[in-house]
Amino acid sequence: MLIRGTGSGAGSVLFKLYVLAFFIFLAAPLLAAGMFAFNDSQFPSLPWQGFTLDWFFNDTEPKLGMFHDRRLLRGLNVSFMIAVSVALLSVFVGTCNAFLFVRGRFPGKNFFYILMVLPLVIPGVILGISILALASNVANGVEEAYNLELEFLRPGLLLVILGQFSFITTITSLVITARLKKFDISLEEAAFNLGASRAGVLRTITLPFLRPAMIAAGIVAFLVSFENFNTTLFLVGSDAPLTITMYDRMVKVGSTPVLNAVSVFLMLGSGVLALISLLVQRDKPKT
């Protein structure tokens, strides 16, 4: 009685309970990480000592809130810069790829399409080490041959951005390609017939149609970049992004509830961004 199970019956109730249990399982660690941000205690554990916002706003040790913790704030700032760069870059290349694969005709297209999807299934650790090894090799070679130190090829911001860009571009390409496929080509024809130039058509018709997908892809890219750890771990230099800073603290220092406060902050931030991407993707009356 699979499809008819929407009504009553013991099986259907059991099925609903199962789905409910599943969502409790999904939410449990997030609630656990979130709740201790508001516990008035030195440690993120029970018993509950009362509600506080100190882990966000307090400005003195030992309960230094996240908005006064210099290292966390610096990590947040670095993550933000990386994520914005990755988002802009990957949306640009993703848009080009969408036009290439939806409109272009060239030999070996299917092969190239698979190449485009490939980075998504390569483990992030391997992307990290392979890019690190290549960049270091080039930098070493240049140093030996020309006695020139190429600082930007050493672990640091640029390599982190490139490493994340290398697989996030696949995501943005897929999102924007899906939208471009839905485009009704007769709209462009009509504009051409009315005497519009190619650039004009692109600017006034095709790109506005793609805009929701571009924004959504940018938001996804931003979030994936922000939370990336595996690839970043190998490419990071002295400017550590937030995930690395938090990881160091978690492993080396032991956690205080300030990490919970950061978690709450990040969850709220991602929630707002996810909501925005939903709103822009909601289809307006057909353009």
Binding site: Y113, I114, V125, K181, S263
Partner: protein
């Protein structure tokens, strides 16, 4: 999927004159569009991987002296800890993939077929929420729940079920649960989108022809959902085998995940040649598993993961 769009192209230009001009412009714009794509794939994917293979074939014979050879690979096969870790990672990843499918399929089915229109969207969004939260925070949440002084242990103590705190972390079962949790969404999303495209009439027809729930599931629903199942399994398997944070945070020092070996060689021992060999072995191993999975299920990469 890609080819269908090709036929659209020629109709843009109206007159013969325009076609001549248009085809030059089109070639130029094709080249311009191909440029960012090729730079990206060549410089950030192909060259680094070729470089990694070349690096892995360099044998250290003396300090700062290298020779071409398979020494790093021979080392790997001579040292049981290394290949045992790889096999263990592979087997545990397969188990995680299977569990994720087993747990996720009913949920995906519920969302795609049983939930009402409004709850459907909401449930799907709920599924996606953990996706927007970093791995790190999810693992952190599990640690707070499961450790000796954690929520579950304290709760069991205060309810009088146990007398001494229990450490739930640092076991294989915990690592597997944490990994299933981490990758679950990448299983559910492709499943929901395939099942969503399935016509309910097909299921009804199955029942009308006298099939019971199990037969309908086995003969109709699962074959239809196969591309989604395979796509979800590939992504989940690759993500699990390549994961680093969850095993190390939830399994501790004894988790022996293969990515930890790679990290160890690269960062702690600064032995890049051997680290590159390990990286290549992980990639080769997981690719072979995925290839076998595709062969066994009769699917191709372009009918599953590469389908947008």
């Amino acid at each position: 999927m890609v080819d269908a769009a090709d036929s659209v192209l020629p109709c843009i230009c109206g007159t013969g004159e325009l076609i001549a001009v248009g085809s030059d412009i089109r070639k130029l714009s094709l080249l311009l569009l191909f440029l960012p794509f090729s730079l990206w794939i060549l410089l950030l994917i192909i060259l680094p991987h070729v470089g990694m293979v070349v690096l892995s074939l360099r044998e250290k014979v003396a300090p700062r002296v290298y020779e071409f050879g398979f020494g790093n690979y021979i080392d790997f096969f001579m040292e049981p800890i290394y290949w045992n870790t790889l096999i263990r990672t592979g087997l545990m990843s397969l188990l995680v993939t299977f569990l994720a499918l087993l747990i996720g399929f009913p949920v995906a089915y519920y969302i795609a077929k049983l939930a009402g229109n409004r709850t459907k969207g909401m449930l799907f969004m709920l599924c996606l929420i953990p996706l927007w939260v970093s791995d790190l925070i999810r693992a952190f949440g599990w640690i707070l729940l499961l450790r000796e002084s954690g929520i579950i242990s304290s709760f069991l103590m205060s309810s009088g079920l146990i007398d001494t705190p229990i450490e739930f972390l640092y076991t294989d079962a915990t690592v597997i649960m944490g990994l299933v949790y981490t990758v679950m969404l990448f299983m559910i999303v492709p499943l929901v989108s395939t099942l969503d495209g399935m016509d309910n009439a097909m299921i009804e027809a199955g029942y009308n022809l006298g099939g019971n729930g199990f037969t309908v599931l086995r003969r109709i629903i699962i074959p239809y959902a196969m591309p989604g199942i395979v796509s979800g399994c590939i992504v989940v398997f690759m993500m699990t085998a390549g994961s680093y944070l969850t095993p190390i945070l939830m399994g501790g020092k004894n988790s022996s995940w293969f990515t930890e070996q790679i990290y160890d060689q690269f960062i702690s021992r600064y032995n890049w040649e051997s680290g590159a060999a390990f990286g290549f072995l992980l990639l080769a191993f997981t690719s072979v598993v995925v290839w076998l999975g595709l062969k066994l299920s009769g699917q191709t990469l372009s009918s599953t993961v590469a389908k947008s």
